[in-house]
């Protein structure tokens, strides 16, 4: 059980629905400390700290309500890891499941959403609106775009929202930790925050606490506890898509004569504010980061509509700062949120299983890869055509740089990487190598694409970029 707590914490931080079913020792032995296998002082209490809920099925007839509750919660609340533990002496008890009693499949209840008229009024009066989109907005693309256009509002995106409104003139796929993005937000007279916890790994990555006050803040979130954590003028609790649709309708009702396309002057100004922010945000970044972003763009353009799964590694850190993915929900990583190293290789495997027709590209550093490269064999065994890119800078370079910056002699940042070519060979996986030069990487990616197609998408490959 303890081995899965880290992924559960990651899922909790990023609101990912996950059902974790575990065993636990037989009921009569719990809490006695008698030295049983896998014994913990109180496994369920431990899990309660990380899971959204943790339930023990201590009798056979408790299985059904526990599962019903878990599935109901996934569809109606802020998602997260749900834990159900079954004692070893309960697992084998006789129990007949009546499938008609599976309640979540029968649920026809419509989601209730709050009244949006006051919020619509405030938005209608705003002259300089900015939208902050988080992971909770990733299924709202059509209405979000419509609303942004209607309000001429630039849309700033956290990592989990990237891919929304790709290349749209109002899209700002840049971190709100950057000065340029903060300026855009500070200048707004009304901020609409959709499905974002306003967490520091997106909004204050450098921990300088210089994030501006959010004027006229309207928050939309499915989670009431989350809404209570920040001061806001208006809180709208419920499904983000439904609330945005309601807002859009209210706005149109407020000014029925207003054409669907906003007046060109205001629209032009919105586009201008977004474009200026994009340019200034990119200019703020180091040449190294800008180079990393060019590599990410190259991956995206070589494999359109692919799924990019990242670890905590320099390419991904750069992408967190600025990267415009081409489809929503398809760029995710562990560099923001809980921040567990070793995330990308197994998460890419899960992604490839969920979308076998799409190209999945995993980007890890040599450090992060060493946390979980045993899972490469799972990709081989399941015949998943993932491209595993290893950014090999021979150590924890980002951490080393951080230590040096504050005058700490770098210690512990130089784990020797394995020979990745041999590692790929040991996993019977085709291997390609290149430098971080854009042109060289482009040739290697094309070669990788041919390899994947050549094996009829039944085999993963590895590309090592030596930095």
């Amino acid at each position: 059980m303890t081995n899965i707590l880290t992924p559960m914490a990651q899922a909790r931080a990023d609101s990912v629905p996950m059902l974790v079913i575990s065993g636990v020792n037989e009921r009569s032995s719990l809490g006695l400390g008698l030295g049983h296998l896998h014994e913990l002082p109180n496994q369920q209490a431990l899990c309660t700290q990380v899971a959204v809920t943790s339930t023990q099925v201590s009798r056979e007839d408790e299985l059904l309500p526990a599962l019903n509750q878990a599935f109901d919660d996934f569809s109606s609340k802020r998602p997260g890891p749900v834990h159900i533990e079954i004692p070893t002496d309960v697992m084998g008890l006789d129990y007949e499941l009546v499938t008609d009693a599976i309640s979540h499949k029968k649920s026809t209840a419509q989601s209730v959403i709050p009244s949006t008229d006051t919020a619509a009024q405030q938005l209608a009066e705003g002259n300089n609106i900015v939208i902050l989109a988080g992971g909770g907005a990733r299924h709202t693309e059509a209405v979000l775009t419509q609303l942004a256009e209607y309000l001429s509002a630039p849309v700033v995106q956290t990592s989990n929202a990237r891919g929304l409104m790709h290349q749209h003139p109002l899209c700002v796929p840049a971190s709100p930790s950057l000065k340029a993005v903060r300026q855009l937000i500070a200048d707004a007279d009304c901020v609409l925050a959709v499905g974002t916890e306003l967490g520091s790994t997106d909004y204050d990555m450098y921990r300088d606490k210089a994030f501006p006050t959010l004027n006229g803040l309207i928050r939309i979130d499915i989670c009431p506890q989350q809404l209570a954590r920040h001061q806001a003028d208006i809180c709208l609790q419920g499904d983000a898509k439904l609330i945005l649709e309601s807002l859009q309708q209210e706005l149109q009702a407020l000014s029925p004569e207003k054409p669907k396309q906003p007046e060109s002057l205001k629209s032009e100004r919105g586009h201008q504010r977004a474009a200026q922010t994009r340019t200034a945000a990119l200019d703020e970044l180091s040449e190294d980061y800008q180079q990393h972003i060019r590599l990410l763009n190259l991956i995206r353009d070589t494999f359109p509509s692919s799924i990019l799964v990242g670890d905590s590694t320099q390419l991904i850190y750069a992408g967190s700062m600025y990267y415009d993915h081409d489809c929503a929900g398809s760029w995710f990583h562990a560099a923001t949120g809980y921040g567990a190293l070793g995330y990308s290789i197994p998460a890419a495997i899960g992604a490839a299983l969920a979308a076998p027709e799409r190209q999945v590209i995993c980007i890890s550093g040599d450090g992060g890869a060493q946390f979980s490269f045993a899972e490469l064999m799972t990709a081989v065994q399941e015949k998943l055509p993932i491209i595993f890119i290893v950014w090999n800078n021979r150590g924890y370079l980002e951490i080393e740089n951080s230590m040096v910056e504050v005058d700490i002699a770098a210690v512990g940042c130089d784990p020797i990487p394995p020979n990745f070519e041999y590692l790929a060979k040991a996993c019977s996986m085709p291997y390609l190598a290149c430098s971080a030069d854009v042109d060289e990487f482009a040739v290697t990616l094309e070669e990788g694409k041919k390899m994947i197609e050549g094996t009829a998408r039944t085999q993963p490959i590895m590309i090592e970029i030596s930095v």
């Binding site: 990651q10 299985l63 998602p79 599976i102 995710f332 070793g342 899960g350 299983l353 979980s372």
Partner: protein, 64 residues
């Protein structure tokens, strides 16, 4: 023929359209695997329980 809690769990997941599960069977969980081979659910065996969780995370983000 009567079934067990472990078999009922598999039946529930299958009835709820769960197609893929991630796990590593161990002595503590073998009874949860009874009935799995007869079901339509695909079981992915990870190499570490941390992998199990991260795989489920990646799967959920893409399928949900």
């Amino acid at each position: 023929m009567s079934t067990t809690v472990g078999e009922a769990l598999v039946k529930y997941l299958e009835s709820s359209d769960v197609e893929v599960i991630f796990g590593i069977p161990g002595v503590h969980t073998i009874e949860l695997y009874r009935g799995l081979s007869q079901s339509g659910i695909r079981h992915i065996t990870a190499r570490h329980e941390q992998g199990v969780g991260f795989m489920a995370d990646g799967y959920a983000r893409v399928s949900g």
